[in-house]
Protein backbone atom coordinates (compact mmCIF):
# COMPACT_ATOMS: atom_id res chain seq x y z
CA UNK A 1 0.00 0.00 0.00
CA UNK A 2 3.06 2.28 0.16
CA UNK A 3 2.65 4.32 -3.05
CA UNK A 4 6.10 5.02 -4.59
CA UNK A 5 7.13 8.25 -6.38
CA UNK A 6 5.80 8.47 -9.92
CA UNK A 7 2.37 6.85 -9.36
CA UNK A 8 0.57 10.07 -8.41
CA UNK A 9 0.54 13.41 -10.24
CA UNK A 10 2.22 16.43 -8.58
CA UNK A 11 -1.15 18.12 -7.99
CA UNK A 12 -2.54 15.02 -6.26
CA UNK A 13 0.60 14.85 -4.10
CA UNK A 14 0.26 18.55 -3.21
CA UNK A 15 -3.39 18.14 -2.20
CA UNK A 16 -2.59 15.21 0.08
CA UNK A 17 0.43 16.94 1.61
CA UNK A 18 -1.87 19.86 2.40
CA UNK A 19 -4.50 17.67 4.05
CA UNK A 20 -2.00 15.57 5.96
CA UNK A 21 0.03 18.53 7.25
CA UNK A 22 -3.22 20.05 8.58
CA UNK A 23 -4.04 16.74 10.31
CA UNK A 24 -0.53 16.56 11.84
CA UNK A 25 -0.86 20.13 13.13
CA UNK A 26 -4.24 19.46 14.78
CA UNK A 27 -3.03 16.15 16.29
CA UNK A 28 0.18 17.68 17.66
CA UNK A 29 -1.79 20.56 19.24
CA UNK A 30 -4.26 18.13 20.83
CA UNK A 31 -1.55 15.87 22.21
CA UNK A 32 0.49 18.77 23.54
CA UNK A 33 -2.54 20.07 25.42
CA UNK A 34 -2.94 16.72 27.12
CA UNK A 35 0.64 15.57 27.56
CA UNK A 36 2.73 18.77 27.51
CA UNK A 37 6.43 18.00 27.07
CA UNK A 38 5.88 14.21 27.15
CA UNK A 39 4.76 14.18 23.51
CA UNK A 40 8.18 14.05 21.86
CA UNK A 41 9.59 10.96 23.66
CA UNK A 42 6.21 9.14 23.64
CA UNK A 43 5.55 9.56 19.92
CA UNK A 44 9.19 8.92 18.97
CA UNK A 45 9.47 5.64 20.85
CA UNK A 46 6.01 4.51 19.75
CA UNK A 47 6.93 5.26 16.12
CA UNK A 48 10.02 3.08 16.55
CA UNK A 49 7.75 0.35 17.97
CA UNK A 50 5.33 0.71 15.01
CA UNK A 51 8.27 0.50 12.59
CA UNK A 52 9.54 -2.73 14.18
CA UNK A 53 6.05 -4.29 14.37
CA UNK A 54 5.56 -3.60 10.64
CA UNK A 55 8.46 -6.03 10.05
CA UNK A 56 6.81 -8.88 12.03
CA UNK A 57 5.65 -11.76 9.87
CA UNK A 58 2.19 -12.85 10.94
CA UNK A 59 0.98 -16.39 10.26
CA UNK A 60 -2.45 -16.14 8.63
CA UNK A 61 -5.11 -18.84 8.42
CA UNK A 62 -4.35 -20.97 5.35
CA UNK A 63 -0.59 -21.16 5.85
CA UNK A 64 0.42 -17.79 4.37
CA UNK A 65 2.00 -14.87 6.19
CA UNK A 66 1.39 -11.13 6.10
CA UNK A 67 2.55 -7.84 7.57
CA UNK A 68 0.41 -5.58 9.72
CA UNK A 69 0.34 -1.78 9.82
CA UNK A 70 0.05 -1.59 13.61
CA UNK A 71 -2.05 1.55 13.33
CA UNK A 72 -5.11 0.00 15.04
CA UNK A 73 -3.13 -0.88 18.14
CA UNK A 74 -1.73 2.65 18.21
CA UNK A 75 -5.27 4.10 17.94
CA UNK A 76 -6.50 1.86 20.78
CA UNK A 77 -3.60 2.61 23.14
CA UNK A 78 -2.74 6.24 22.28
CA UNK A 79 -6.00 7.49 20.78
CA UNK A 80 -6.41 8.78 17.21
CA UNK A 81 -4.10 11.82 17.53
CA UNK A 82 -1.19 9.76 18.87
CA UNK A 83 -1.82 7.06 16.27
CA UNK A 84 -1.78 9.56 13.40
CA UNK A 85 1.53 11.05 14.54
CA UNK A 86 3.37 7.85 15.45
CA UNK A 87 2.31 5.99 12.30
CA UNK A 88 3.19 9.00 10.12
CA UNK A 89 6.61 9.14 11.74
CA UNK A 90 7.15 5.42 11.09
CA UNK A 91 6.08 5.89 7.44
CA UNK A 92 8.42 8.89 7.05
CA UNK A 93 11.27 6.77 8.42
CA UNK A 94 10.45 3.98 5.98
CA UNK A 95 10.44 6.43 3.06
CA UNK A 96 13.61 8.30 4.02
CA UNK A 97 15.57 5.36 5.38
CA UNK A 98 14.61 2.49 3.09
CA UNK A 99 12.92 4.16 0.13
CA UNK A 100 9.73 2.25 1.03
CA UNK A 101 7.10 4.67 -0.29
CA UNK A 102 8.01 7.83 -2.16
CA UNK A 103 8.98 11.31 -1.05
CA UNK A 104 6.41 13.12 -3.20
CA UNK A 105 3.76 10.55 -2.21
CA UNK A 106 4.54 10.63 1.53
CA UNK A 107 1.58 12.96 2.13
CA UNK A 108 -0.83 10.57 0.40
CA UNK A 109 0.67 7.51 2.14
CA UNK A 110 0.38 9.16 5.55
CA UNK A 111 -3.15 10.28 4.71
CA UNK A 112 -4.20 6.70 3.85
CA UNK A 113 -2.29 4.66 6.39
CA UNK A 114 -1.99 7.11 9.31
CA UNK A 115 -4.87 9.60 9.16
CA UNK A 116 -7.73 7.60 7.61
CA UNK A 117 -6.70 4.27 9.14
CA UNK A 118 -6.33 5.75 12.65
CA UNK A 119 -9.68 7.52 12.56
CA UNK A 120 -11.53 4.52 11.11
CA UNK A 121 -9.87 2.09 13.54
CA UNK A 122 -10.66 4.33 16.52
CA UNK A 123 -14.28 4.92 15.47
CA UNK A 124 -14.85 1.19 14.83
CA UNK A 125 -13.25 0.11 18.10
CA UNK A 126 -15.13 2.68 20.20
CA UNK A 127 -18.44 1.88 18.52
CA UNK A 128 -18.15 -1.89 18.79
CA UNK A 129 -16.51 -2.02 22.22
CA UNK A 130 -18.90 0.70 23.49
CA UNK A 131 -18.87 0.56 27.29
CA UNK A 132 -17.78 -3.06 27.66
CA UNK A 133 -15.50 -3.78 30.63
CA UNK A 134 -11.75 -3.67 29.92
CA UNK A 135 -11.48 -7.47 30.17
CA UNK A 136 -14.52 -8.18 27.96
CA UNK A 137 -14.20 -10.53 25.01
CA UNK A 138 -16.07 -7.92 22.97
CA UNK A 139 -13.03 -5.62 23.07
CA UNK A 140 -10.89 -8.30 21.41
CA UNK A 141 -13.47 -8.77 18.65
CA UNK A 142 -13.88 -4.97 18.31
CA UNK A 143 -10.11 -4.58 17.89
CA UNK A 144 -10.00 -7.32 15.24
CA UNK A 145 -12.90 -5.84 13.27
CA UNK A 146 -11.44 -2.32 13.64
CA UNK A 147 -8.11 -3.57 12.26
CA UNK A 148 -9.76 -5.32 9.32
CA UNK A 149 -11.97 -2.35 8.42
CA UNK A 150 -9.16 0.22 8.89
CA UNK A 151 -6.73 -1.69 6.63
CA UNK A 152 -9.40 -2.05 3.94
CA UNK A 153 -10.66 1.54 4.06
CA UNK A 154 -7.08 2.73 3.90
CA UNK A 155 -6.44 0.47 0.86
CA UNK A 156 -9.65 1.74 -0.75
CA UNK A 157 -8.44 5.33 -0.32
CA UNK A 158 -5.12 4.41 -1.98
CA UNK A 159 -6.99 2.62 -4.80
CA UNK A 160 -9.18 5.67 -5.43
CA UNK A 161 -6.13 7.96 -5.50
CA UNK A 162 -4.45 5.67 -8.04
CA UNK A 163 -7.66 5.06 -9.98
CA UNK A 164 -8.45 8.73 -10.64
CA UNK A 165 -5.02 9.37 -12.19
CA UNK A 166 -5.68 8.12 -15.79
CA UNK A 167 -8.91 10.14 -16.05
CA UNK A 168 -7.28 13.34 -14.83
CA UNK A 169 -3.75 13.10 -16.20
CA UNK A 170 -3.11 11.77 -19.70
CA UNK A 171 -1.33 13.06 -22.79
CA UNK A 172 -2.90 14.13 -26.10
CA UNK A 173 -2.98 10.50 -27.38
CA UNK A 174 -4.79 9.34 -24.24
CA UNK A 175 -1.78 7.56 -22.68
CA UNK A 176 -1.93 7.81 -18.87
CA UNK A 177 0.95 9.88 -17.42
CA UNK A 178 0.90 8.34 -13.93
CA UNK A 179 -0.83 5.26 -12.45
CA UNK A 180 -2.35 3.66 -15.58
CA UNK A 181 -5.52 1.94 -14.33
CA UNK A 182 -8.98 3.47 -13.96
CA UNK A 183 -11.07 3.00 -10.81
CA UNK A 184 -12.83 -0.12 -12.13
CA UNK A 185 -9.46 -1.94 -12.28
CA UNK A 186 -7.55 -0.19 -9.46
CA UNK A 187 -10.19 -0.80 -6.78
CA UNK A 188 -10.64 -4.58 -7.26
CA UNK A 189 -6.89 -5.11 -7.79
CA UNK A 190 -6.03 -3.33 -4.55
CA UNK A 191 -8.95 -4.65 -2.51
CA UNK A 192 -8.54 -8.36 -3.28
CA UNK A 193 -5.14 -8.41 -1.52
CA UNK A 194 -6.39 -6.40 1.42
CA UNK A 195 -9.68 -8.19 1.91
CA UNK A 196 -7.85 -11.51 2.00
CA UNK A 197 -4.37 -10.91 3.48
CA UNK A 198 -3.41 -7.44 4.73
CA UNK A 199 -6.77 -6.82 6.42
CA UNK A 200 -6.60 -10.17 8.19
CA UNK A 201 -3.00 -9.51 9.28
CA UNK A 202 -4.06 -6.20 10.85
CA UNK A 203 -7.06 -7.91 12.48
CA UNK A 204 -4.88 -10.71 13.89
CA UNK A 205 -2.26 -8.40 15.43
CA UNK A 206 -4.89 -5.97 16.82
CA UNK A 207 -7.10 -8.63 18.38
CA UNK A 208 -4.10 -10.64 19.66
CA UNK A 209 -2.50 -7.58 21.21
CA UNK A 210 -5.69 -6.42 22.93
CA UNK A 211 -6.22 -9.95 24.30
CA UNK A 212 -2.66 -9.92 25.63
CA UNK A 213 -2.98 -6.44 27.16
CA UNK A 214 -6.26 -7.40 28.90
CA UNK A 215 -4.26 -9.94 30.89
CA UNK A 216 -0.81 -8.37 31.12
CA UNK A 217 -1.32 -4.59 31.24
CA UNK A 218 -5.03 -3.56 31.26
CA UNK A 219 -4.13 0.05 32.13
CA UNK A 220 -2.95 0.57 28.54
CA UNK A 221 -6.51 -0.08 27.31
CA UNK A 222 -8.09 2.39 29.75
CA UNK A 223 -7.43 5.64 27.89
CA UNK A 224 -9.74 4.88 24.96
CA UNK A 225 -12.15 2.56 26.79
CA UNK A 226 -14.86 5.20 27.28
CA UNK A 227 -15.15 4.08 30.91
CA UNK A 228 -14.63 6.31 33.92
CA UNK A 229 -11.22 5.18 34.96
CA UNK A 230 -9.65 6.94 37.98
CA UNK A 231 -7.18 9.57 36.86
CA UNK A 232 -8.95 10.19 33.56
CA UNK A 233 -11.17 13.18 32.84
CA UNK A 234 -14.80 12.20 33.34
CA UNK A 235 -16.52 12.66 30.05
CA UNK A 236 -20.01 11.42 31.01
CA UNK A 237 -21.65 14.85 31.07
CA UNK A 238 -19.93 16.00 27.88
CA UNK A 239 -20.97 12.77 26.16
CA UNK A 240 -24.59 13.18 27.23
CA UNK A 241 -24.78 16.74 25.93
CA UNK A 242 -22.98 15.70 22.76
CA UNK A 243 -25.46 12.88 22.23
CA UNK A 244 -28.36 15.36 22.50
CA UNK A 245 -26.61 17.60 19.97
CA UNK A 246 -26.16 14.72 17.51
CA UNK A 247 -29.80 13.60 17.90
CA UNK A 248 -30.95 17.19 17.19
CA UNK A 249 -28.71 17.46 14.14
CA UNK A 250 -29.97 14.10 12.84
CA UNK A 251 -33.63 15.14 13.31
CA UNK A 252 -33.03 18.42 11.51
CA UNK A 253 -31.34 16.58 8.67
CA UNK A 254 -34.27 14.19 8.30
CA UNK A 255 -36.69 17.13 8.23
CA UNK A 256 -34.79 19.10 5.58
CA UNK A 257 -36.79 17.84 2.53
CA UNK A 258 -39.77 19.72 4.04
CA UNK A 259 -38.15 22.79 2.47
CA UNK A 260 -39.15 21.63 -1.02
CA UNK A 261 -42.83 21.57 -0.08
CA UNK A 262 -42.87 25.39 0.10
CA UNK A 263 -44.05 26.98 -3.13
CA UNK A 264 -42.36 29.87 -4.91
CA UNK A 265 -39.20 31.63 -3.82
CA UNK A 266 -38.43 33.23 -0.50
CA UNK A 267 -38.83 37.03 -0.63
CA UNK A 268 -35.58 38.72 -1.69
CA UNK A 269 -33.94 35.49 -2.93
CA UNK A 270 -34.74 36.07 -6.59
CA UNK A 271 -32.31 35.26 -9.39
CA UNK A 272 -31.72 37.83 -12.20
CA UNK A 273 -33.65 35.54 -14.60
CA UNK A 274 -36.76 35.78 -12.36
CA UNK A 275 -37.17 39.44 -13.36
CA UNK A 276 -37.72 38.38 -16.98
CA UNK A 277 -40.21 35.47 -16.49
CA UNK A 278 -43.88 36.64 -16.32
CA UNK A 279 -44.98 34.08 -13.67
CA UNK A 280 -41.96 34.90 -11.46
CA UNK A 281 -42.67 38.64 -11.90
CA UNK A 282 -46.28 38.07 -10.81
CA UNK A 283 -45.12 36.19 -7.72
CA UNK A 284 -42.60 38.91 -6.82
CA UNK A 285 -45.32 41.55 -7.22
CA UNK A 286 -47.86 39.65 -5.08
CA UNK A 287 -45.26 39.06 -2.37
CA UNK A 288 -44.26 42.76 -2.42
CA UNK A 289 -47.73 44.28 -1.80
CA UNK A 290 -48.32 44.50 -5.58
CA UNK A 291 -45.35 46.81 -6.17
CA UNK A 292 -44.14 45.97 -9.70
CA UNK A 293 -40.54 44.74 -9.99
CA UNK A 294 -38.17 46.56 -12.41
CA UNK A 295 -38.42 45.49 -16.08
CA UNK A 296 -34.83 44.17 -16.18
CA UNK A 297 -32.67 42.69 -13.39
CA UNK A 298 -30.79 45.44 -11.50
CA UNK A 299 -27.35 45.97 -13.04
CA UNK A 300 -25.43 45.35 -9.80
CA UNK A 301 -27.31 42.08 -9.17
CA UNK A 302 -26.63 40.85 -12.71
CA UNK A 303 -22.92 41.64 -12.34
CA UNK A 304 -22.39 40.18 -8.86
CA UNK A 305 -24.31 36.94 -9.56
CA UNK A 306 -21.59 35.75 -11.89
CA UNK A 307 -18.79 36.11 -9.31
CA UNK A 308 -19.51 32.86 -7.45
CA UNK A 309 -21.22 29.77 -8.77
CA UNK A 310 -22.54 27.44 -6.09
CA UNK A 311 -21.30 23.82 -6.17
CA UNK A 312 -24.89 22.63 -5.53
CA UNK A 313 -27.18 25.05 -7.45
CA UNK A 314 -30.77 25.05 -6.16
CA UNK A 315 -29.75 22.66 -3.36
CA UNK A 316 -29.49 19.69 -5.75
CA UNK A 317 -26.13 18.43 -7.03
CA UNK A 318 -26.16 17.88 -10.80
CA UNK A 319 -25.61 14.13 -10.46
CA UNK A 320 -28.76 13.59 -8.37
CA UNK A 321 -32.03 13.25 -10.27
CA UNK A 322 -34.43 13.16 -7.31
CA UNK A 323 -34.92 16.68 -5.94
CA UNK A 324 -35.73 15.45 -2.41
CA UNK A 325 -32.61 13.28 -2.25
CA UNK A 326 -30.52 16.15 -3.64
CA UNK A 327 -31.96 18.44 -1.00
CA UNK A 328 -31.05 15.95 1.75
CA UNK A 329 -27.54 15.41 0.35
CA UNK A 330 -26.97 19.16 0.13
CA UNK A 331 -28.19 19.55 3.71
CA UNK A 332 -25.83 16.84 4.93
CA UNK A 333 -22.95 18.48 3.09
CA UNK A 334 -23.85 21.90 4.47
CA UNK A 335 -24.22 20.61 8.04
CA UNK A 336 -20.89 18.79 7.70
CA UNK A 337 -19.12 21.98 6.62
CA UNK A 338 -20.75 23.97 9.45
CA UNK A 339 -19.79 21.32 12.03
CA UNK A 340 -16.22 21.32 10.74
CA UNK A 341 -15.98 25.11 11.02
CA UNK A 342 -17.55 25.00 14.51
CA UNK A 343 -15.14 22.29 15.68
CA UNK A 344 -12.15 24.22 14.30
CA UNK A 345 -13.36 27.44 15.92
CA UNK A 346 -13.95 25.61 19.21
CA UNK A 347 -10.47 24.10 19.21
CA UNK A 348 -8.97 27.56 18.53
CA UNK A 349 -11.03 29.36 21.15
CA UNK A 350 -10.96 26.78 23.93
CA UNK A 351 -8.89 28.02 26.84
CA UNK A 352 -5.84 25.94 27.55
CA UNK A 353 -6.50 23.64 30.50
CA UNK A 354 -4.44 23.95 33.62
CA UNK A 355 -1.12 22.15 33.02
CA UNK A 356 -0.98 18.84 34.83
CA UNK A 357 1.71 18.16 37.37
CA UNK A 358 4.57 16.55 35.48
CA UNK A 359 6.27 13.85 37.44
Amino acid sequence: MHIPDGYLSPSTCAVFYGGTVAAWYVCLKRLKRALLTRVVPLISVFAAFAFVVMMFNLPLPGGTTGHALGVTVAAIVLGPAGAVLSTSLALALQALLFGDGGITTLGANCFNMAVIASLVAYACYRTLAARAPISARRRVIAAGVAGYVAANVSALAAAIELGIQPALFHDAAGAPLYAPYPLKIAIPAMMIGHLTFAGIAEAVISAGLVAYLQVADPSLLAATSGLNVPGMASGARTRASLRRLWVTVALLLILTPLGILATGKAWGEWAPSDFLRPEARAQIASASKNALPPAAPPEGMARLTTIWTSPFPAYAPAFVRSRALGYLLSAMFGVGVCLLIALLAQSRLRAHPRPEQVT
Partner: protein, 268 residues
Protein backbone atom coordinates in the same frame (compact mmCIF):
# COMPACT_ATOMS: atom_id res chain seq x y z
CA UNK B 1 1.44 -27.85 3.16
CA UNK B 2 4.78 -26.60 4.43
CA UNK B 3 4.13 -24.17 7.24
CA UNK B 4 6.34 -21.09 7.18
CA UNK B 5 8.26 -20.56 10.39
CA UNK B 6 7.19 -17.02 11.18
CA UNK B 7 9.71 -16.56 13.96
CA UNK B 8 12.64 -17.31 11.65
CA UNK B 9 11.26 -15.16 8.85
CA UNK B 10 10.65 -12.27 11.26
CA UNK B 11 14.19 -12.62 12.58
CA UNK B 12 15.43 -12.52 8.98
CA UNK B 13 13.48 -9.39 8.09
CA UNK B 14 14.63 -7.64 11.29
CA UNK B 15 18.28 -8.43 10.67
CA UNK B 16 17.98 -7.53 6.97
CA UNK B 17 16.49 -4.13 7.83
CA UNK B 18 19.21 -3.39 10.37
CA UNK B 19 22.01 -4.44 8.03
CA UNK B 20 20.55 -2.28 5.24
CA UNK B 21 20.57 0.72 7.55
CA UNK B 22 24.16 -0.02 8.58
CA UNK B 23 25.36 -0.42 4.95
CA UNK B 24 24.16 3.14 4.38
CA UNK B 25 26.34 4.36 7.23
CA UNK B 26 29.37 2.63 5.64
CA UNK B 27 28.84 4.03 2.13
CA UNK B 28 28.29 7.47 3.59
CA UNK B 29 31.82 7.42 5.03
CA UNK B 30 33.51 6.75 1.66
CA UNK B 31 34.78 9.62 -0.46
CA UNK B 32 32.80 10.65 -3.51
CA UNK B 33 30.94 13.48 -5.20
CA UNK B 34 27.75 13.24 -3.13
CA UNK B 35 29.67 12.78 0.12
CA UNK B 36 31.72 15.93 -0.53
CA UNK B 37 28.63 18.15 -0.76
CA UNK B 38 26.83 19.85 2.08
CA UNK B 39 23.93 17.61 3.29
CA UNK B 40 21.46 20.46 2.75
CA UNK B 41 22.45 20.65 -0.93
CA UNK B 42 22.18 16.86 -1.26
CA UNK B 43 18.73 16.65 0.32
CA UNK B 44 17.35 19.75 -1.41
CA UNK B 45 18.84 18.73 -4.78
CA UNK B 46 17.46 15.19 -4.56
CA UNK B 47 13.98 16.34 -3.50
CA UNK B 48 13.94 18.93 -6.31
CA UNK B 49 14.98 16.36 -8.92
CA UNK B 50 12.38 13.85 -7.69
CA UNK B 51 9.68 16.53 -8.06
CA UNK B 52 11.00 17.32 -11.57
CA UNK B 53 10.85 13.61 -12.46
CA UNK B 54 7.21 13.49 -11.44
CA UNK B 55 6.50 16.60 -13.55
CA UNK B 56 8.30 15.42 -16.72
CA UNK B 57 6.08 13.90 -19.43
CA UNK B 58 8.73 12.59 -21.90
CA UNK B 59 10.42 9.20 -21.61
CA UNK B 60 13.66 10.42 -23.27
CA UNK B 61 14.10 13.13 -20.64
CA UNK B 62 13.46 10.60 -17.86
CA UNK B 63 16.11 8.29 -19.33
CA UNK B 64 18.59 11.20 -19.52
CA UNK B 65 18.03 12.01 -15.83
CA UNK B 66 18.34 8.29 -15.02
CA UNK B 67 21.71 8.11 -16.84
CA UNK B 68 22.84 11.18 -14.93
CA UNK B 69 21.80 9.51 -11.67
CA UNK B 70 23.83 6.37 -12.51
CA UNK B 71 26.90 8.51 -13.29
CA UNK B 72 26.41 10.33 -9.97
CA UNK B 73 26.16 6.97 -8.17
CA UNK B 74 29.42 5.73 -9.72
CA UNK B 75 31.14 8.99 -8.77
CA UNK B 76 29.87 8.59 -5.20
CA UNK B 77 31.24 5.08 -4.51
CA UNK B 78 27.81 3.43 -4.99
CA UNK B 79 28.24 0.36 -7.19
CA UNK B 80 25.94 -0.70 -10.02
CA UNK B 81 25.49 -4.00 -8.16
CA UNK B 82 24.16 -2.24 -5.06
CA UNK B 83 21.75 -0.16 -7.14
CA UNK B 84 20.64 -3.18 -9.18
CA UNK B 85 20.00 -5.35 -6.13
CA UNK B 86 18.55 -2.66 -3.95
CA UNK B 87 16.55 -0.64 -6.46
CA UNK B 88 16.29 -1.76 -10.06
CA UNK B 89 15.25 -5.40 -9.61
CA UNK B 90 12.97 -4.60 -6.69
CA UNK B 91 11.22 -1.76 -8.57
CA UNK B 92 11.02 -3.83 -11.76
CA UNK B 93 9.49 -6.74 -9.87
CA UNK B 94 6.91 -4.52 -8.19
CA UNK B 95 6.16 -1.78 -10.74
CA UNK B 96 6.80 -4.10 -13.71
CA UNK B 97 4.05 -6.46 -12.57
CA UNK B 98 1.73 -3.50 -12.10
CA UNK B 99 2.66 -1.90 -15.45
CA UNK B 100 2.52 -5.05 -17.59
CA UNK B 101 -1.29 -5.34 -17.91
CA UNK B 102 -1.42 -1.63 -18.86
CA UNK B 103 0.07 -2.64 -22.24
CA UNK B 104 -3.19 -4.40 -23.10
CA UNK B 105 -5.75 -2.67 -20.93
CA UNK B 106 -5.10 0.96 -21.93
CA UNK B 107 -7.60 2.00 -24.63
CA UNK B 108 -6.20 2.91 -28.07
CA UNK B 109 -5.47 1.60 -31.58
CA UNK B 110 -3.77 -1.83 -31.17
CA UNK B 111 -0.15 -2.07 -32.43
CA UNK B 112 -0.37 -5.84 -32.84
CA UNK B 113 -3.37 -8.11 -33.18
CA UNK B 114 -2.40 -10.89 -30.72
CA UNK B 115 -1.68 -9.83 -28.03
CA UNK B 116 -3.31 -6.43 -28.61
CA UNK B 117 -0.75 -3.95 -27.29
CA UNK B 118 -1.80 -0.32 -27.71
CA UNK B 119 0.76 2.52 -28.20
CA UNK B 120 -0.91 4.33 -25.32
CA UNK B 121 -0.47 1.26 -23.12
CA UNK B 122 3.18 0.88 -24.12
CA UNK B 123 3.83 4.56 -23.40
CA UNK B 124 2.05 4.39 -20.04
CA UNK B 125 3.92 1.25 -18.92
CA UNK B 126 7.39 2.46 -19.98
CA UNK B 127 6.74 5.91 -18.52
CA UNK B 128 5.65 4.49 -15.14
CA UNK B 129 8.65 2.15 -14.89
CA UNK B 130 11.13 4.86 -16.03
CA UNK B 131 9.69 7.39 -13.60
CA UNK B 132 9.70 5.09 -10.59
CA UNK B 133 13.17 3.66 -11.36
CA UNK B 134 14.69 7.16 -11.72
CA UNK B 135 13.02 8.55 -8.59
CA UNK B 136 13.95 5.59 -6.40
CA UNK B 137 17.53 5.51 -7.78
CA UNK B 138 18.02 9.17 -6.84
CA UNK B 139 16.50 8.71 -3.37
CA UNK B 140 18.64 5.62 -2.75
CA UNK B 141 21.84 7.45 -3.76
CA UNK B 142 20.95 10.17 -1.24
CA UNK B 143 20.20 7.65 1.53
CA UNK B 144 23.35 5.59 0.82
CA UNK B 145 25.65 8.63 0.79
CA UNK B 146 24.20 10.57 3.70
CA UNK B 147 24.19 9.51 7.36
CA UNK B 148 20.77 9.81 9.00
CA UNK B 149 21.95 12.60 11.34
CA UNK B 150 22.94 14.75 8.37
CA UNK B 151 19.64 14.12 6.57
CA UNK B 152 17.87 15.33 9.71
CA UNK B 153 20.05 18.43 9.93
CA UNK B 154 19.24 19.16 6.30
CA UNK B 155 15.51 18.67 6.92
CA UNK B 156 15.75 21.25 9.69
CA UNK B 157 17.24 23.78 7.28
CA UNK B 158 14.36 23.00 4.87
CA UNK B 159 11.94 24.48 7.44
CA UNK B 160 10.72 21.11 8.80
CA UNK B 161 9.75 21.96 12.43
CA UNK B 162 12.38 21.24 15.08
CA UNK B 163 10.04 18.96 17.03
CA UNK B 164 9.45 16.75 13.97
CA UNK B 165 13.18 16.50 13.28
CA UNK B 166 13.80 15.61 16.91
CA UNK B 167 11.10 12.93 16.84
CA UNK B 168 12.58 11.44 13.64
CA UNK B 169 16.03 11.37 15.26
CA UNK B 170 14.78 9.72 18.44
CA UNK B 171 12.60 7.22 16.57
CA UNK B 172 15.61 6.20 14.44
CA UNK B 173 17.71 5.66 17.56
CA UNK B 174 15.10 3.49 19.28
CA UNK B 175 14.31 1.42 16.18
CA UNK B 176 17.66 -0.33 16.65
CA UNK B 177 17.09 -0.89 20.36
CA UNK B 178 13.54 -2.19 19.92
CA UNK B 179 14.49 -4.33 16.90
CA UNK B 180 17.27 -5.89 18.97
CA UNK B 181 14.88 -6.47 21.88
CA UNK B 182 12.37 -8.11 19.52
CA UNK B 183 15.13 -10.26 18.01
CA UNK B 184 16.20 -11.44 21.47
CA UNK B 185 12.62 -12.24 22.46
CA UNK B 186 12.06 -14.26 19.29
CA UNK B 187 15.40 -16.03 19.64
CA UNK B 188 14.77 -17.00 23.24
CA UNK B 189 11.29 -18.27 22.30
CA UNK B 190 12.74 -20.20 19.38
CA UNK B 191 15.47 -21.79 21.53
CA UNK B 192 12.81 -23.19 23.90
CA UNK B 193 10.48 -24.48 21.19
CA UNK B 194 10.06 -28.20 20.62
CA UNK B 195 8.20 -29.31 17.52
CA UNK B 196 6.01 -27.25 15.21
CA UNK B 197 3.47 -24.85 16.69
CA UNK B 198 -0.02 -24.77 15.19
CA UNK B 199 -1.05 -21.60 13.34
CA UNK B 200 -3.22 -20.21 16.12
CA UNK B 201 -0.40 -20.68 18.64
CA UNK B 202 2.07 -18.94 16.28
CA UNK B 203 -0.30 -15.99 15.98
CA UNK B 204 -0.56 -15.83 19.78
CA UNK B 205 3.26 -15.86 20.11
CA UNK B 206 3.70 -12.99 17.64
CA UNK B 207 0.90 -10.92 19.22
CA UNK B 208 2.31 -11.52 22.71
CA UNK B 209 5.80 -10.50 21.59
CA UNK B 210 4.33 -7.33 20.08
CA UNK B 211 2.47 -6.71 23.35
CA UNK B 212 5.59 -7.10 25.49
CA UNK B 213 7.48 -4.87 23.07
CA UNK B 214 4.77 -2.22 23.34
CA UNK B 215 4.81 -2.25 27.15
CA UNK B 216 8.60 -1.96 27.02
CA UNK B 217 8.33 0.93 24.51
CA UNK B 218 5.94 2.88 26.71
CA UNK B 219 8.11 2.31 29.81
CA UNK B 220 11.13 3.35 27.77
CA UNK B 221 9.42 6.54 26.59
CA UNK B 222 8.69 7.44 30.24
CA UNK B 223 12.33 6.81 31.20
CA UNK B 224 13.57 8.82 28.22
CA UNK B 225 11.22 11.65 29.20
CA UNK B 226 12.55 11.66 32.77
CA UNK B 227 16.13 11.60 31.51
CA UNK B 228 15.40 14.50 29.17
CA UNK B 229 13.66 16.44 31.92
CA UNK B 230 16.52 15.90 34.36
CA UNK B 231 18.84 17.41 31.77
CA UNK B 232 16.73 20.54 31.52
CA UNK B 233 14.24 19.67 28.73
CA UNK B 234 11.21 21.96 28.94
CA UNK B 235 9.69 21.34 25.52
CA UNK B 236 12.02 23.56 23.50
CA UNK B 237 14.39 22.06 20.98
CA UNK B 238 17.64 23.75 20.01
CA UNK B 239 19.93 22.69 17.20
CA UNK B 240 23.58 23.46 16.55
CA UNK B 241 24.04 26.39 14.14
CA UNK B 242 24.33 25.32 10.51
CA UNK B 243 27.69 25.38 8.78
CA UNK B 244 28.43 27.60 5.77
CA UNK B 245 28.16 26.41 2.19
CA UNK B 246 31.41 26.06 0.20
CA UNK B 247 32.00 27.02 -3.47
CA UNK B 248 31.47 23.41 -4.62
CA UNK B 249 28.04 23.44 -2.94
CA UNK B 250 27.04 26.54 -4.88
CA UNK B 251 28.28 24.83 -8.07
CA UNK B 252 26.13 21.78 -7.25
CA UNK B 253 23.08 24.01 -6.62
CA UNK B 254 23.68 25.67 -10.00
CA UNK B 255 24.04 22.28 -11.72
CA UNK B 256 20.83 20.91 -10.16
CA UNK B 257 18.96 24.11 -11.08
CA UNK B 258 20.13 23.88 -14.71
CA UNK B 259 19.27 20.15 -14.96
CA UNK B 260 15.87 20.74 -13.38
CA UNK B 261 15.07 23.70 -15.68
CA UNK B 262 16.26 21.81 -18.78
CA UNK B 263 14.32 18.67 -17.86
CA UNK B 264 11.16 20.68 -17.23
CA UNK B 265 11.55 22.62 -20.48
CA UNK B 266 12.33 19.58 -22.65
CA UNK B 267 9.96 17.22 -20.87
CA UNK B 268 6.77 19.29 -21.07
Amino acid sequence: MKRTNVVTSTLNSLSRALSRALISEQTARRSGVMQSLDPRVRVLGTFLLVIVIVLVHKIAVLLAVFTGAVVLALASAVTIRTLALRVWFVVLAFTGVIALPALFLTPGEPLSSVPSITPQGLHAAVMLIARVETAVTLTTILVLCTPWVEILKALRSLCVPREVVMMLAMAYRYIFLLAETATQMFESRESRRLGVLPGSEQRRVVAQTAGVLMSKSLDLSQEVFLAMQSRGYRGDVFTVADSRLRPRDYLAILAVAIIAALALWLGR
